[in-house]
Structures are given as structure tokens and as C-alpha cells.
């Protein structure tokens, strides 16, 4: 039997969840034995080269590119997992939710105390840059997500347990201290 294929990405996240994934210590060696990585910042594969079994998503969707990547993951992965608070509920980036995006952009590019030299009062609008969404969306409010692993970041043990359970088909054993929201 071929090894399960795993893909990962960071949307509107801080890479902390990826760090936590790497934080499983020597079990990382087991992981490499257990799975094959496809598209992921860990191995720097930029494009899907095949269908994957598991997609790990860090971060929510704050712009159009995040949405496209997430939809791409949904298409290529059998199972999608929201990893961390940002993927689950927008996280810190979502603290802007509730403030109109126009106000956010103006604060960032025109009125903010650190803005200098933007005399023409331009909000970046090059067609190449992704477009901001009206709010930061939790992943499951954009596409269907199959599992959620909370934490900021999720404890390494949680990620590990979840992956092993999924791969082996065994039940997840989650001690009280591994599921935390902070």
C-alpha cells in the first residue's frame, strides 16, 4: 500500500501551526516514514502533483488568493483539516472583522500614524495583488472542512494524535491538556 499523501498550507496565519507540526520532536522521523508530503511549505512543493489524502490548513481566508488556495486544496484533498484558531475562527487577523474594510485599508495606507509619502492617498490596487475580503473567514465558512484542531498553535501532540488516528484508522486519544484554544 502506498503511503498516505499529505499537503499543507498557511493562509492568513503566522506559520506557528506549521512550527507546531515540526515540534513533534523525534516523531517527525516516524511521520516521514508514515506519510508522503506533497504541496507544502515544508518541502517547498508549490503545486499539487497528485491527489492527496489529507490537507492541513493553517490560517483563515483574508483575501482572494487564500480562497483560491483553499478551494484548490478542497479539490485535491480527500480530507481537509483546519489547524489552529485562525483556520477555525479567523484568529487574530479576524480582529478586524466588524470594522468596515474601507476603514481598515484607509487606516493602513492613508490615515495611519506610520504612513508617510502616500500624498496621492492611494490604496494599493495593482491587479496582481490579491483582493482583501470584507472580513476574515474561517475556513469552514468558505469550503467544507472535515476536522478541526484548535489551539494557538495546536499542541504538537494534538496534531500528531490526529494524524496518526486518521492514517491508522484508530480512535483519537486526547488527554485533557492537549485541546486548548490558546
Amino acid at each position: 500500500m502506498s503511503k498516505p499523501v499529505v499537503a499543507t498550507t498557511s493562509l492568513a496565519g503566522c506559520f506557528g501551526c506549521h512550527m507546531s507540526l515540526l515540534d513533534i520532536d523525534e516523531r517527525i522521523l516516524d511521520l516521514i516514514e508514515l506519510v508522503e508530503f506533497n504541496k507544502s511549505p515544508i518541502n517547498d512543493i508549490k503545486k499539487f502533483t497528485k491527489k492527496c489524502d489529507i490537507g492541513l490548513i493553517e490560517g483563515g481566508c483574508c483575501n482572494s488568493e487564500n480562497v483560491h488556495v483553499l478551494q484548490d486544496f478542497r479539490e485535491h484533498c480527500q480530507i481537509l483539516i483546519s489547524v489552529g484558531e485562525c483556520a477555525i475562527m479567523g484568529g487574530l487577523p479576524a480582529m478586524r472583522n466588524g470594522i468596515p474594510i474601507k476603514e481598515c485599508l484607509e487606516e493602513a495606507y492613508i490615515n495611519g500614524p506610520t504612513v508617510k509619502n502616500n500624498t496621492e492617498k492611494i490604496i494599493p490596487n495593482d491587479p496582481e495583488i490579491p483582493i482583501m475580503l470584507d472580513k476574515v473567514y474561517p475556513c469552514h465558512e468558505v469550503v467544507k472542512m472535515d476536522y478541526h484542531l484548535p489551539g494557538c498553535p495546536p499542541r504538537a501532540d494534538l496534531i500528531w494524535e490526529a494524524l496518526v488516528a486518521l492514517i491508522t484508522g484508530n480512535e483519537m486519544k486526547l488527554p485533557y491538556h492537549v485541546v486548548k484554544f490558546d
Binding site: 475562527m89 479567523g90 484568529g91 466588524g98 470594522i99 478541526h148 484548535p150 494557538c152 485533557y176 490558546d182
Partner: protein
Amino acid sequence: MNQIVKITIDGVECMATKGQYITDAAKENGIYIPTLCNYEGVKPRGSCRICTVKVNGRLMTACTTPVSENMEIENNADEIQELREAIIELLFIEGNHFCPACEKSGSCELQALAYRFHMMVPRFPYSFPQQEIDATNPKLVKDQNRCILCKRCIRAIKDEKGRSVFAYKRRSRHVEISIDPKIGKSLSDEMAQQAMDVCPVGALLVRERGFVVPIGERKYDNEPIGSDIEKLKE
């Protein structure tokens, strides 16, 4: 004087004092009924609905309902547990709960209930409301984003003349907590601390202090909420 009555909780026979609230009776019998808006020593107000149980087949809040002879109480029925999970999730989506950035994280009762009930993600869509942070009080900051409108602060904190320091404002989904601009000004340090302690979540915070207890030592870091009550049984 104290009349003892017999009740059952999930079929288990328990003794209780007549007139005692169901939550208290359960507690004395080592049974945990989750509560959130209830606070020891303060008149109950049935606002969070978490403690809902079935009393002789009817949904009632355990924190406000006194026991009486032969009451049959269901606390563990699937229907009740699912209801509680849903209420916890509703409270999460109603506000803006960014736990990683919250001073109360680890000691927050809402969060602790979510842990106890294994909430991974709320089933309801987030509402991301725009809420007020009131930092005008010299001692306290009120963050409406995290307030679950449990009324504990309203009920527990009064000034020396018996006047309310906290109150509801507006109604329906527009309700929020306000701190009295005048009485609030003369709040003592003790009262401010008391208000913060009374608040089950991170909505009332004493100014210029935060994250004083290290991660790992906070109230609910190591054991689920309610464990202390359940230990009584052993």
C-alpha cells in the same frame, strides 16, 4: 427546621434539603451540573441556560429551581448534553472570542466548559459583531466582545448605598453591559478585583495587569471544570 427530601438525579437517589436549588443539591451529592451565570452567594438568574435539566420531564434551569420531594431530575440525557453543547457554541459565535489574546484564557469558565464538552468548532456561523471596549473607568476595562451577559456583575457588585454599578443596556441581541459613569469612578481596588473575579469570562479586567498566572498553572489548565465537585463523590 431543614426538611430533608429525596430526589433522583439520573436515576441515582440523592438526599437534599427542601427548598435548596437543584445545582446545590447535586453538588452536595458529588454531581456536577454545569453552570455559567450562577455564582455562589448571589441570587440566581437563569440567564445562560447551561444548567438546564429535565425535572419530571420538563426543561428547567437547575440553578433557579428549588428541589422538592420525589423530584426526578435528568442531567445526563443525550438531549440535555447536546443542548449544553449548543449553548456553549452559541455564546462563542455571539461574541468575538479570540482566546489566544485573552487575559482570562485558562481561567475562563466559558472556555473551560468548551473544553469539558469537547468543542472543536461551533456548528453555528460566527457573527463577528462590532462591539465596544469601554476603557473610561479608572480601574476596569470592559470588553463587550467577550461578555456573555450572564448578569453576574450586575447582581454581585453594589455600592455602599445598594446601588448597581453595572447594568444591562438595550434589549434583544443589542444588549450590553454598562458601568455606571459616576459610581464606577469611585470603585475601590477591591471592588474592581471582585468584579473581575465575578466575571466568568474576560469581559471585565482590572487595568494594567494581565497574564499574571503562567500557562500551566491557570485554573482550568489541568483539570476539567467541575472536577472538584465530582471528586467529592470519591
